[in-house]
Amino acid sequence: MKTIKRTALLDQLESEVESHLQSAISVFQNVSDTLLQQQSAQNGWSIAQCLWHINSYGHYYLPAIAHAMKPDAASRDTFTSSWLGAYFTRLMKPGEGMKKMKAFKDHTPPLQPDGRAEVAEFIRQQEVLLGLLRQARQVDLTRTKVAISLSRWIKLRLGDVFQFYVAHQGRHVAQAMRNV
């Protein structure tokens, strides 16, 4: 796997999170309750459901990441993906030939979650995530490991966890934006 600069990776992740936040602040928090609940044309998820789904992962990952991070100014300033980590990120990335996936049971949203509450929680989580990405500038992204939400037996490198977690959000923010 290719080795990249830690600052380059974190800059890119920060700007992705910033753009997800922009969607929430300029659009989602200002639309009507009806639009928040409206299913997509193909009977897909509403904006409220997309955000509920994203938030359900934040409840696990944000504390798990915060707990795993040990800031150390002398830590290595590069990052290398593991093949499994890179595979997860590729799976999440929207784009050509993107596969429709079925959500895991604990992450399948109810029919009509409280839209306003989900928008507010989404914004709160993204602000926390920005703080973690900032702290991560002093953390070894390769040696620090975080267990994935599916199984505590599978641990991935922090740099990979950040990447597939943010890519997963990007996928569903884009999905939510298609309902606007």
Partner: protein
């Protein structure tokens, strides 16, 4: 025109609305500023430390807030074209009781407190401009106190949107709700019921 000179032009326009500076005063005043960029949710001034800069906001929204145990009180929003920072700590050079943080990616000019305070000493024109600017700020704060004491939450909501209609799309609503002293849930309800 370079970014710096167009930024300085905005600064000059603002100072002129307070009190026009002579060419010499402006030369001295304009020399102390440097461009400064910050990302979202960066704390620029911590409670307990003395304000080191006067800011002039070019882009983004920021707030001054007070932290009491787990509760926060948002006292002031700043956005272009206005001055920013914790003014009382700046002017008195005493530790700030407040935080100053960005609520969106921000771009400023900023001047070191020492340079700014020194200029005030020897230049009556600059001092007059600052006095008028601060008087304007004081009047705004008094008006806000009246709204706080006398207005219903719906009136405070309407007033906020009248004064800064663009702010709904710029900052998370929880900060706006906090500023007008209502629960975020009630803020959403007002969003739905009040037609502007």
């Amino acid at each position: 025109m370079s970014e710096m000179s167009s930024s300085l032009l905005l600064l000059r326009n603002l100072t002129t609305t307070f009190h026009p500076l002579s060419e010499m005063e402006w030369q001295a005043f304009s020399k102390i500023w440097q461009p400064f960029r910050a990302k979202r949710k960066e704390v620029l001034t911590l409670a307990g430390e003395t304000e080191r800069y006067l800011y002039f906001v070019l882009e983004g929204v920021q707030r001054v807030f007070f932290e009491h145990q787990t509760r926060e009180a948002t006292l002031v929003f700043t956005y272009s074209p206005s001055f920013g920072g914790v003014f009382d700590s700046l002017m008195q050079q005493k530790p700030s009781r407040f935080f100053y943080e960005t609520l969106s990616p921000s771009f400023f000019l900023r001047a070191p407190a020492t340079d700014f305070l020194q200029l005030l000493e020897g230049n009556p024109g600059i001092e007059k401009m600052v006095r008028k600017g601060l008087t304007y700020t004081l009047a705004g704060m008094m008006e806000r106190m009246v709204e706080w004491e006398c207005f219903s939450s719906e009136e405070r909501f309407r007033k906020l949107l009248q004064r800064s209609p663009h702010i709904l799309q710029l900052v998370p609503h929880k900060y706006l709700a906090n500023y007008i002293g209502i629960d975020p849930t009630n803020f959403s309800k007002l969003m739905n019921s009040v037609r502007i």
